[in-house]
Amino acid sequence: MSTHTAAASASTLAHVRDDFPILSTTTTRGKRLVYLDSAATSQKPRAVIDALSRFYEEYNANIHRGVYEIAARATDAYESARAAVAGFIGADSREIVFTRNATEAINLVAYSWGRSSLRPGDVILLSELEHHSNLVPWQRVAAERGAQLRFIPVDEHGELLLSDLDSLLDGVRLVAITHVSNTLGVMVPVRQIAERAHAAGAVVLVDGAQGAPHLPVDVRALDVDFYAFSGHKMLAPTGIGALYGKRALLEEMPPFLSGGDMIRTVSYRQTTYNEVPWKFEAGTDSVGDAIAFGEAVAYLRRLGMENVRAHERALTAYALERLDELVPRGLTIYGPRDPDRISGVLSFNLGDVHAHDVASILDTDGVCIRAGHHCTMPLMDKMGWTATARASFYIYNDESDIDALVASLRKAADIFKL
């Protein structure tokens, strides 16, 4: 990254923190909130919170049904949010299905596409980095369809070993892979993998839960078939996420959940289905949350995702430098330790102190980090880690948050006499 970009990102994101009401609160111990767990969920800016309240205060109504004014307004806002989310990743509106979260988006593909397309003996290629949400659905569908799972291995830093990719792709019908590791922050070369997977005739799904919030994403440039992501990790409320699917694929897939709104005509014995994407949105949608999701991606676009990435890269570089001071006290940082290869996530352990004890001590200083297996138990087993502590960054973090993290880790080392 050039100094020019660093300066640009610093100025663009300098006052972002003020947009997040929760970041000016204090803990019951009177400590400033130092929120370093955005890989679990992000905080929400005032604009998103306001969009949600405005919906309930001014035009709450069910969508796609009512003929009255506020119902029309709600429907417009919901479909505008779909257009905003589509535009954010370079897709068309008709290619965006609203779901509860990335997990539900992946399950949609597993149960709709997977159940109807996978045949006995087909191979699903995953990586050893996968979050449980991009592993367990495939285990279930594979068991049901008689398909097999295969895994792209990782090296000791958690980076994919791609030298044997072409032979790994033999017999593969689906590649389902994460964009960014939620445990190590490792960025996966999705475009390169998709190109080779397509050459081998496979369909490509990307778990973008940690990608879309942090990196510029253009699904056309990546040329992936499905891209799943959660709103709540990118400034939107919980309970809303999205699945991008290439239109031709979505068209040929059977419905996932069924019921109201996803139909065209229904008789007692038979149903014809709605067009995509509405075919996949059964029942009353999370309307207010979807509208707020639209506001969230508009907020991120105003900042510019290149600037978001530059900010997080600079923060990661600073964190790696500061955390190095604690290596003599027993700190071990996992992953590539290179800000150009990771996206805003650092996993570590402090001497023989269990990650939960580290997190508890940091909590007394208002420093919020995650501790545990991060829903990647197979990766933890492979690496031989019982648990790790994880700090993750987003647009509202700055160097003072890293300084607070380091000071609190020093205190933990003191308490445990390291």
Partner: protein, 130 residues
């Protein structure tokens, strides 16, 4: 909570008591804390009055789960299995002697749950939920 990790807790974490296994134990149980994957196994030898004569544990996890289990193994020597089955969570909290936040309560209670499970011969309820 600045006094959360008192010296005796660190001592039990780093030098746990009654660690290991028994040959052919009369009762045993193990479990995992679903929150964080902490695990504990406890093995018991009892006499004719169903009193605990020997106790050993193995486990991995945080200081709270491992130290509380270590302390518990000292507390219950000589108790009958029925007495163990009726132990309240306060026994563990008194052993630890510090405030435990709700999010860490399962860590603190893992050892007691496993011990009670060994005493009654089936998986016991979480002590903090009963």
């Amino acid at each position: 909570m600045d006094d959360f990790y008192r010296d005796y807790i660190l001592d039990h974490y780093r030098n746990p008591r009654n660690v290991g296994h028994l040959d052919d134990p009369d009762a045993a149980a193990e479990d995992t804390n679903p929150l964080c994957g902490d695990s504990v196994r406890i093995e018991l030898r009892v006499d004719g009055d169903r009193r605990v004569r020997e106790i050993r544990f193995t486990g991995k996890g945080c200081a709270i789960s491992q130290a509380s289990t270590s302390m518990l193994t000292e507390t219950v020597k000589g108790m009958t299995l029925d007495e163990i089955a009726a132990l309240p969570k306060e026994t563990v909290l008194e052993n630890i002697g510090i405030g435990i936040s709700p999010t860490r309560m399962k860590c603190a209670m893992l050892g007691l749950r496993v011990l009670k499970s060994a005493a009654i011969g089936r998986l016991a309820d979480w002590p903090d939920e009963t």
